[in-house]
Amino acid sequence: MANNKNNKPEAQGNSKKTINKMIFVMVIMIIVAPAILIISLIRIQFIDNEMYQQKAINQQLRQTVITPQRGTIYDRNMKPLAQSANVWTIVLNPNSVEGEEERNLIADKLSVILDVDRESIYEKAGKNRYYEVLKRKVDHDTYSQVEQFKVDYNITSVYSVEDTKRYYPYEDFASSVLGFTGTDNYGLYGLEAYYDSTLQGVPGWVVQAKSATGQDMPYGYETTYEAQNGTNLVLTIDEVIQHYLEKYLEIAAIENNVTNRAAGVIMDVNTGEILAMATKSDFNPNSPFEITDQNVLNSLSSITDEEEYSKAKNEALQESWRNKVVSDTYEPGSVFKAVTASMALEEKVVTQSDMFTCTGSYRPVNNINPIKCHKAGGHGTITFRQGLQQSCNPCFMQVGARIGPENFYEYFGAFGFREHTGIDLPGEADSVYHSLETLQNPVSLAVDSFGQTFRVTPLQMITAISAIANGGNLLEPHIVRQMIDDEGNIVSSTETKVKRQVISESTSAEVSEMMQSVVTEGAATNAYIAGYRVAGKTGTSEKRDVYDENGNQIQDLRIASFCGFAPADDPQIAILIILDEPHASNIYGGTIAAPVAKSILEEVLPYLGIEPVYTAEEISSMDISTPNVLNEQVTTAENAIKEKGLKVKIMGSGTTVVKQVPVQGESIPQNGTVVLYTDEASSSQTTTVPNIVGLSVSDANAALINAGLNIRLSGTGFENSGSVCFRQDIQEGQQVEYGTIIKAEFRVDVADDAA
């Protein structure tokens, strides 16, 4: 043991105190430090675990959205009317543009590829931004050209973002029904808006692990939640029927200079399915923000003030998108008389043979101005049946009084005029009608009886007429038949919904028969179709609520309409045609709306497999096919033609037929004349076409026969004596060959004013 300075022995090694200190420190380290760790762990794992988990997920995982494909809209025969496809949006990052040279290059090349103004691209390329859209929704070809441009010139400031675009292959076809989508692929109008959530689908996700540098690590962790594509819609609309409706509606709108749009709807009376629905003028859903109506464009071009122009354009666009059948109301006029007749017959307050007197006007109460009939001199004494045929206002005012305000109000509601039809389209308008209290006034009741001073939607009107046609059942109209998935499995199906029985089957049959007589004998003869039984009612309602900019009521505005169904003995379809504010020589529904319905039904009924059944009289008046007698001996040819019941006119002195007019196979009226040319000299002879516009059938026929020509009758009502020619296909004064067939269009000018 060593000694220290004091010669005392030094301690060797740690003292007890030091050891104790060390033990203490070790205890701290062994117990306390882990305890702190454990407490932290408990806090992280159990208390704040969710927060840290989320942070870890956010840091370690990347979520990518999988955009679902928007559902397709098909017609009832599975023809696609609206479908989406992938497209690209071309974007520029101006901050990455390297210098003026690249800026010019991008402007020069992309303006050609994208068909965009060069200056706008150049301007965007100079901005101090990271994101500038050059063009939206370009197709694959354009996208490929942009990608090639990037590779060729080593451009990194241009990139593409995937997007989808909605395509409407038939352009303005059923546009007011389909609606359109916006740039963000959400539905904005029509079915696209109403069924937006169904069509959208559910987005999917790809969750992938990412490295510290943000790179994907696909096999580190990856989970995919597949997107659910939108459900597809199968409509009740038939593309063929829709085509015919739009075609003839457009022709009528142009021919009659309709200034507040024309609308039409065709409905299956037994199921409530809408087979066709159209409004003209409308828009192209591929470019919904462009106005296509020339009249509107002309009126907009005259506006110089920018703000006013913008406002006017906006209003015009809204107008063009509007579905007139669902979203507009109108005074139905005389078409409503069919409903009044149903009320009266159901309540047995009138029979078909009851007599009424029409002197040209009627006072429901004394000391008021008389309410006029459209026939100034009055119809005289007529039966109720004739009252409907001739659309007599005084007759129906008296019938309305018999029905009484309470019953009238009740039936008005029962026929669905006080409620929405429930159709699956947006923007269904509310009707405007008299309250029960107001109807206590005999004048209100009287005017309501012939369809004026209240407003309903065209859809409500055709639904009511369909109830008359189908045995008295008020149906809920619908436009979507089924919803199907991408594999064609039916997700849901729309069933026929009967809201209530409004009238009895016997009343329905009786009114249907009366409406058929309106077409065969009354004011709707222009809707008559040989071989088919058509029932209908015309209407010409007065518009009293249109004012000019000075607040003065604009007079003489009318809505011409026709509503009917066919076949009358076994109704299948109902049709309603409305021409709002026609400006023509004759603006009555019977004259301009009924022929539209006739033209459409002539195409649609055979398409639906409803074959014509001609009466003997109809067959006897039908055109026949010209036989072929070319190169025959004159005598043989003559006999062959006469066998067909045709007449012969021989020109020239030859013995063989070198030319015939009409040619083989061309239609010729029975008792028409076939001209046979027997030598070249005679075949050059011609005759002058006379004017037959304004002539009756017999007068027009005589004029043409005198000129050595044949007549082909077309149009409407030419079976009736009141029919006059309003158009001839070959104009007066033209030189044509003898025997040429002149197509003459006839119609009956009817007055059917409900005012």
Partner: protein, 172 residues
């Protein structure tokens, strides 16, 4: 009593009696061909063999592990490549489907009823008219029978018919 013999043998150094005992004959070692390796060398050799085996197995194991590692890596690489290929193909499919949709829409637009009617008007075509259909009336009980032309028999049927007719004639 102590064993004095043993005691004597052991302690009796004065008289080395062992000298008087018959000495065992020394058997001369046989000369054999076996060359006995020194123990050290034997051990060394054994160690070398052991080392060799150890090294070999180590190398083998390492080799297997490395192979496994590389095959795993290759699998990963292939999977990644396949994954990229799948993605690229899916992308192409989506693009092709879009192109198909767009082209189909264009086709439908060009073959719409409106376009067909316009074109047929241009070509001067007419739709089927009533005058091209001939109507005739039937009374009750009348029926229409469509006579189909007799189909010509095949060559084998003709041969069979020939022999049938031939033998039929004989039978008759």
């Amino acid at each position: 009593m102590p064993n004095f013999d043993e005691f004597d043998r052991k302690v009796n150094v004065a008289y080395d009696l062992s000298l008087f005992e018959p000495q065992p004959k020394e058997i001369p070692k046989k000369k054999n061909n076996i060359i006995e390796m020194p123990r050290q060398r034997v051990n060394q050799n054994a160690r070398r063999l052991e080392n060799f085996l150890r090294v070999s197995s180590a190398i083998l194991v390492v080799g297997i592990v490395v192979s496994l590692f590389f095959s795993l890596l290759m699998c990963r690489v292939q999977m990644t490549e396949l994954g990229d290929e799948i993605s690229a193909t899916k992308e192409s499919l989506a693009t092709a489907q879009s192109d198909y949709t767009i082209l189909e829409m264009e086709l439908k637009s060009k073959t719409s009823l409106k376009t067909i009617e316009e074109k047929s008007d241009e070509l001067g075509m007419d739709k089927l008219d009533k005058h091209q259909i001939e109507y005739f009336s039937l009374t009750d009980g009348d029926k229409a029978e469509i006579v189909e032309p007799e189909k010509s028999a095949g060559i084998f049927s003709q041969i069979a018919d020939f022999f049938t007719n031939l033998f039929g004639g004989f039978v008759e």
